[in-house]
């Protein structure tokens, strides 16, 4: 599905918190990914020119969020890209969860994107992923910049 998630960054003393919310876990994951891009640059400046497939699996939702964000960090670092749009599918598999996604973005253009800091990795700090009492889904953690 194409997701239209809500996202925000939240303060951490040394680094940056990233948070996504949505009607589904996948939407929340997409929001967290957009927030991670926002920790680097204005996501509105990143064009969805190129698609990168990403797959990961984990025994539970929080580890899956960590793996998802770290997979994006790896792709950003090795492809020299920034991502702005995400199509995510999360389904049960072998007693855990499997995520299949396409991340859309483009090569870093320093003049246009003005990237402030690379993300080194997603941390367990403030890590939460699950359904909230109001029924919406939340995905968040602090990323090291």
């Amino acid at each position: 599905m194409v997701t239209q998630a809500a996202w925000q960054t939240f303060p951490h003393e040394a680094d940056v918190g990233v948070r996504g919310t949505g009607e589904t876990l996948a939407e929340a994951f997409a929001g967290a990914a957009t927030a991670m891009t926002a920790a680097i640059c204005d996501p509105g400046t990143v064009a969805a020119r190129e698609a990168v497939p990403i797959e990961c699996s984990a025994p539970e939702t929080e580890l899956l969020l960590l793996d998802w964000l770290n997979a994006l960090v790896f792709e950003m670092a090795t492809r020299r890209m920034l991502f702005a749009r995400f199509e995510i599918d999360i389904a049960p598999e072998d007693g855990g969860l499997r995520l299949r996604a396409t991340a859309w973005g483009e090569a870093v253009d320093v003049a246009r994107h003005q990237p402030a800091a690379e993300v080194k990795g997603a941390s367990f700090c403030e890590l939460k992923a699950g359904q909230q009492p109001d029924g919406r889904w939340l995905a968040q953690c602090v990323v090291d910049v």
């Binding site: 960054t9 303060p11 951490h12 003393e13 040394a14 680094d15 940056v16 920790a39 680097i40 640059c41 580890l63 960590l66 793996d67 770290n70 960090v73 790896f74 670092a77 090795t78 020299r80 090569a107 870093v108 320093v110 994107h113 003005q114 990237p115 402030a116 800091a117 690379e118 080194k120 990795g121 997603a122 941390s123 367990f124 700090c125 890590l127 602090v142 090291d144 910049v145």
Partner: protein
Amino acid sequence: MDTSRLKRRGPCEWELPASGRMRVPGVIFASKELVQAMDDKVAEQVANVASLPGIVDASYAMPDAHWGYGFPIGGVAAFDADEGGVVSAGGVGFDISCGVRTLHTGLKAADVEGVKRQLADVLFARIPAGVGSTGALRLSGPEMDAMLRGGARWAVKEGYGSEADLLRIEEHGCVASADPKAVSEMAKKRQRDEMGTLGSGNHYLEVQVVDQVFDAVVAQAYGLAEGDVVVSIHCGSRGLGHQIGTDFLREMVVAAGQAGIVLPDRELACAPLKSALGQRYLGAMRAAINCALANRQILTHLAREAFATVLPGTRLPLLYDVSHNTCKEEIHTSADGRKRRLFVHRKGATRAFGPGHAELPAEYRQAGQPVLIGGSMGTASWILAGAAGTGERAFGSACHGAGRAMSRSEALRRWHGSNVVDELAAKGIMIRSPSFRGVAEEAPLAYKDVGEVVDAADHAGLASKVARLRPLVCVKG
């Protein structure tokens, strides 16, 4: 921080008494003002570290301590393998062996004043900096492994610098027992294009002037006098270290439960030192330290080339190189008087061996280890000296920098990068950065007063003040 739980041991030393799951007390080295300004999370994290198996004497926090992951940034803790001690990927962090090195130039401020702008431009052109930047060097698989085993020693063999540099780097530029096989292919792939790059965020290369000398004897031993121009480089193990942190944090969180270790915070992810996972992490982490040392050595070479272009004949010998985010195997005497082999975690803290330590280069042995403290652009950096007796107090450790005073988003709300660049230019500081947003997030006032931190380290007897450095040129990542 709520100080009601703390016992004041001295003007700059506070004890968090052991309670609950804590195996040892916490000790925070800071002035009253600094400790009050610390987040309560720092005390919580100091207490959590104190609960880990095999911890020796105390869980320490340096004067610049702030809320980190698992360990506070500015946290120091040592573990004994023979007493069930652990090694923690969270206790080292993502930017393994991020550190600072300082180079002499043999120049005085007046020598560079007229060419400062040109120097800034040439350094910025030659030093790959910022998000997405790449280095000129591409390593094959065997070359990558040789670099991971050899560190700065490998870089010197490849033509980046000289043997003399190695004498002034911790462990002479090469940490033993690094294991490239323990480093994932993903980590090696992340490093493929990043050798000789500065990185981004708070990483920098600065041309600085010695603004004031506080200890003339030690300054002389370090070859420093007021008005001298030096170059300082702050960066780490780049993508390779970041990926090793990522890989092992996850693996240790999953494995900790299987090893019967109860983690009060998942970021304290750790493994027994005497376990296959613990040993594998040590091998990978040491490889990342060597990667950081090689990287700073290559950047040093690029800085030397830049200076030779603008000021022909200038030599840039190394003053010293320190690492911040490490776990090192060291011999210390614990509080019970026993000489022990310990694994000292320093997360955002600097090794600060006192006078007489055998590890120090002969010319610095009487003065103590140079402790290089980074400030923010526009404010001061400092050179301290490891204090006598430090080895018995915090396993030979001191602070590492100013620490942020506000979040990046708050800094971005308050300042615009171009204004920061203009204001600093008016003060005679040339800033060069690929990103105005990056400059805004790193604005001088986004950081705490490094002077207060340094005073507290001095008063606590961790390290003593030698010289204050003022920036002239700053290349920001």
